[in-house]
Subunit: 74 residues, 7 copies
């Protein structure tokens, strides 16, 4: 059995909605457009939430990878 790699899981979520959480506790929910090996990530149609509350609608967002804790497909 071939072993899967973590970036494969992200690849399955391309063009789908994901939740990205940052070290500063902010959450970004949007369509996963792009990511790289540093986990730099681009979302589209993005909502920013803090403690589950909508704070801003942001459209396209580039997120620097080193600030990310988790990414969850929705």
């Amino acid at each position: 059995m071939e072993q899967s790699r973590p970036l494969d899981a992200l690849n399955h979520s391309r063009n789908k909605t994901v939740l990205v959480e940052l070290k500063n506790n902010k959450q970004y929910i949007g369509k996963l457009i792009a990511f790289d090996i540093h986990i730099n990530t681009v979302l589209d149609d993005t909502e920013e939430r803090v403690d589950g509350t909508l704070k801003r609608k942001l459209g396209t967002v580039f997120i620097r990878g080193d600030t990310i804790t988790i990414i969850c497909p929705q």
Copy 2:
């Protein structure tokens, strides 16, 4: 005697339930699907807990390696 390496221990836990603890004190318990040399990790059927209390059911979670402190097979 051949010496084991840390990633061998993680490899033995593939497709088994593990506990992943983060620097922000969150805990993720789920099936270990994938990891890489940065310890970027993917869990499936994941529960998020804080101080042992269930907070969220998250399904698949990608965890950025640099935010992890420990991983324990359950």
Copy 3:
């Protein structure tokens, strides 16, 4: 379908207005002049804001990449 990369998204914003947010919660809004793979970024005609309030007009600003959390085209 060719897969887009995160820096492509930044490239589309060259010479356009972007919002850059830092780990220290400061916001810089200006015209995106340059960036590199470390996400070191240069803005022109820049305003610094904290909690949405204008603090300083800064002209050209070089921002060290490792201090950035997100970049949003405006």
Copy 4:
């Protein structure tokens, strides 16, 4: 006289009990099974202690190296 290297000292502790202390002040005491150049470390029969008090029995634990401050043979 040949000069010893830091990882030699860890190597002498393989299969022996060590104390691993983390930046978050948690202590892990267990049998040293494996380590690598990043000081990623695997312990077996592990006890977690905080301020010297037993918190959890954890069995096998993978500890990410960058979270470690010191390792002491017992």
Copy 5:
């Protein structure tokens, strides 16, 4: 059109007065003498300010790049 790079902007400020802000909120204002790819920076005729208030006159200052948040030509 050739695309500019972030270090080009710093290069235009050589021998001119710049403001360098650090993660610890200190500000250094002086003539930009040198910088490298890590953004290690040397200023001359430097004033240190905190919250805009002059604290020390420092002459030549070497600033380690990883402590810098922004650099602004004055």
Copy 6:
């Protein structure tokens, strides 16, 4: 005149007593057995002190380099 390098200074302290101070303010005083380019360090006959007060006698201690601020020969 040949220029000395920082690790030369540490090399002169091999098998001599040194004080190692960490980012968490703990002090380790012991015989310098080994170090490497990451400043991973091994001490022998080690005492741990906090604010100058003896806390623990630790024997051999492996200290991860990135947690160290200064090393002083005694």
Copy 7:
């Protein structure tokens, strides 16, 4: 005109008195004996000061580069 590099400035201070400030706000004043590309630094005849007050006379001190914010020739 040949452009100077940041380490050239440090080189001019070899065997002269410098002030080294750390991220933990400690100051070390002593004769600059050695440094490397990581800005690991060795001082001789060193005084440690906090808020300008002499705390300890330390003789030779090895300072790990990543803990340094600024270095000033005196």
